[in-house]
């Protein structure tokens, strides 16, 4: 193998890491800047964090469904839908992240709802596709058929975004509630579910890869622990210290980015490396998948923030 793909892999891995660090540090900057100007409503801060989380998950979905549906040759035109939905979700999430008004946005809102719906419909499509293959819901079809868990990432992105819009509208001063539920706790539960489901999908696909590398156990251990900590913190607040949960969520965010780096290395080490990218990007480990964990961890941090601001949230 030539040196070129190798260096390409390293460069891409470092880019992914840099992106991760930037995302985390920008988060800190924006908070500091916001605090200097005026004190925003805590619900709006949380909502913006959720926009960011939704945007990150949407990016992951956009790239992942793009690659996977390209592998499927877009043989059904409906396979374009998640690309459109996740691209729009990404766009409105960027907009939402920069928007500190305490009201739901009339374009963001329906787009988020649409993304959630698309994810739901996609899940049914994938279930149908797997079910009709010979062998039905066998390991073979779970491994290589339409991935059952993938569309729910889009649904999750939409839900988080939709939730952020509700949060903005929930008003200041009192403990925020969404759909009659205490917002912090509900969001923590939603995020924990997302983390658990995404870890389950990573578990399935890493099982397909026979856990040939011990690092493949990381995404099936770190995020579920984050989910447990998040739920526990939400349930026992305010009597529980939150430091461990916060740091564990940050670790989970990092896992998502480092995971992408590992996957980039995985593509490079397959036969022909990056010279054979048309095969290895599709058949090697999915590079855009791991950052979903980062998005979910950011959502978890937003939930944690809400709970801190409003012990009753």
């Amino acid at each position: 193998m030539s040196a070129k793909p190798q260096s390409g892999g390293v460069v891409l891995g470092m880019l992914a890491l840099a992106a991760g660090v930037t995302a985390l540090s920008r988060r800190r900057c924006s908070r500091a800047r916001g605090a200097g100007r005026r004190t925003p409503q805590p619900t709006v801060t949380a909502a913006r964090r959720l926009n960011r989380a939704a945007g990150l998950i949407a990016t992951s979905t956009l790239l992942d469904s793009g690659v996977e549906h390209y592998r499927g040759s877009f043989h059904n035109k409906a396979m374009l839908t998640p690309l459109v939905a996740s691209a729009l979700t990404f766009a409105v999430s960027v907009h939402g992240t920069g928007d500190d008004r305490p009201v739901a946005h009339r374009i963001r809102d329906p787009i988020y709802a649409g993304a959630a719906l698309t994810g739901l419909v996609g899940t049914f499509f994938h279930l149908y596709n797997v079910g009709k293959r010979p062998g039905g819901f066998s390991w073979q079809n779970l491994f290589y058929g339409s991935p059952l868990g993938a569309p729910s990432a889009l649904a999750l992105s939409g839900l988080l975004g939709y939730y952020s819009e509700r949060l903005r509208g929930s008003g200041a001063g009192k403990a925020p509630r969404v759909f009659g539920l205490r917002a912090g706790r509900a969001l923590a539960a939603l995020t924990a579910m997302g983390l658990a489901a995404t870890a389950a999908e990573a578990g399935l696909l890493h099982f397909r890869g026979a856990y040939h590398d011990p690092f493949m156990y990381v995404p099936v251990t770190v995020p579920p622990i984050a989910a447990v900590l998040l739920v526990e913190t939400a349930a026992t607040h305010p009597h529980k210290p939150r430091g461990l949960t916060r740091w564990w969520l940050r670790l989970t965010a990092l896992v998502g980015f480092v995971g992408a780096g590992f996957h980039i290395f995985g593509v490079h080490r397959d036969m022909g490396g990056w010279h054979n990218w048309r095969q290895n990007v599709l058949n090697g480990p999915p590079i855009p998948a791991p950052p979903s964990f980062t998005g979910l961890a950011l959502a978890g941090l937003a939930a944690l923030g809400l709970i801190e601001e409003h012990p009753n949230a």
Binding site: R71, G72, H75, M271
Partner: protein
């Protein structure tokens, strides 16, 4: 017979990740085979060439596969298969004897050389050989039908289907490695595979086949330029 894979050319992928250096070397050498004998004498060569044309007739408008020359090289190098029906003499002798016996039969039947016969007369002789209906001293103890099956068919088909042009005809993906295939399910085609002409849509397949090749070549030219730089 209309072309099933119009515009498809395995060779369009020669410089892509579908081929490695070992493959390029092997196929380049095959394509450089001169269409003239190294082992057979001119008379045997004419007979062999005529047989090849009947066993694997070639469409006009496509590159001609030098089938007889590829068979000839197998004999020139005495490349054997690792087994031999005990009723047959060794590779070279079997061919020499078989070609002579076929010529003898052509002489008896039609008073002419095999290559000078009409296609249908050639086919009749070959079919008689296939079914063991040719005899005569020239065969010795070699059964004609066995010579037909184990030498004529085996060696000629192996020669013809070793040539990229034959792969174009049948839509075979050709060399694959380091890049193999991704899309494994029914009716799924990787972009570097042959597109099949559906009834009345030959143009669409042609476009796909030509586009796949040319896009790939463009990207590669750039990548190779990068490599040099």
């Amino acid at each position: 017979m209309p072309e099933r894979f119009p515009g498809y050319d395995v060779m369009a992928r020669r410089d892509t990740a579908s081929w490695n250096d070992a493959t390029r070397k092997a196929i380049d050498a095959r394509l450089a085979t001169r269409d003239s004998p190294e082992f057979f004498n001119p008379e045997e060569w004419r007979t062999l060439d005529a047989i090849c044309e009947r066993i694997v007739p070639q469409a006009s408008g496509r590159m001609r596969v030098p089938t007889a020359a590829l068979v000839d090289r197998k004999l020139a190098e005495d490349r054997r298969d690792g087994y031999r029906d005990a009723r047959l003499p060794p590779l070279r002798e079997a061919w020499r004897r078989g070609l002579a016996a076929l010529e003898a039969a052509a002489q008896v039947r039609a008073g002419a050389k095999f290559h000078a016969l009409t296609a249908s007369a050639q086919d009749t002789l070959l079919r008689d050989m296939q079914h063991g209906r040719l005899d005569g001293e020239a065969w010795g103890d070699m059964p004609a039908e066995l010579f037909f099956k184990e030498r004529v068919m085996h060696d000629i088909l192996a020669a013809y289907y070793s040539h990229p042009e034959s792969w174009n005809e049948i839509g075979f993906g050709g060399p694959a490695g380091p890049r193999g295939y991704v899309r494994m399910y029914f009716n799924r085609r990787d972009p570097w595979e042959a597109a099949e002409a559906k009834p009345g849509r030959a143009d669409k397949a042609r476009k796909t086949n030509q586009h796949a090749g040319s896009l790939e070549q463009k990207v590669l030219t750039r990548m190779n330029a990068d490599d040099r730089g």
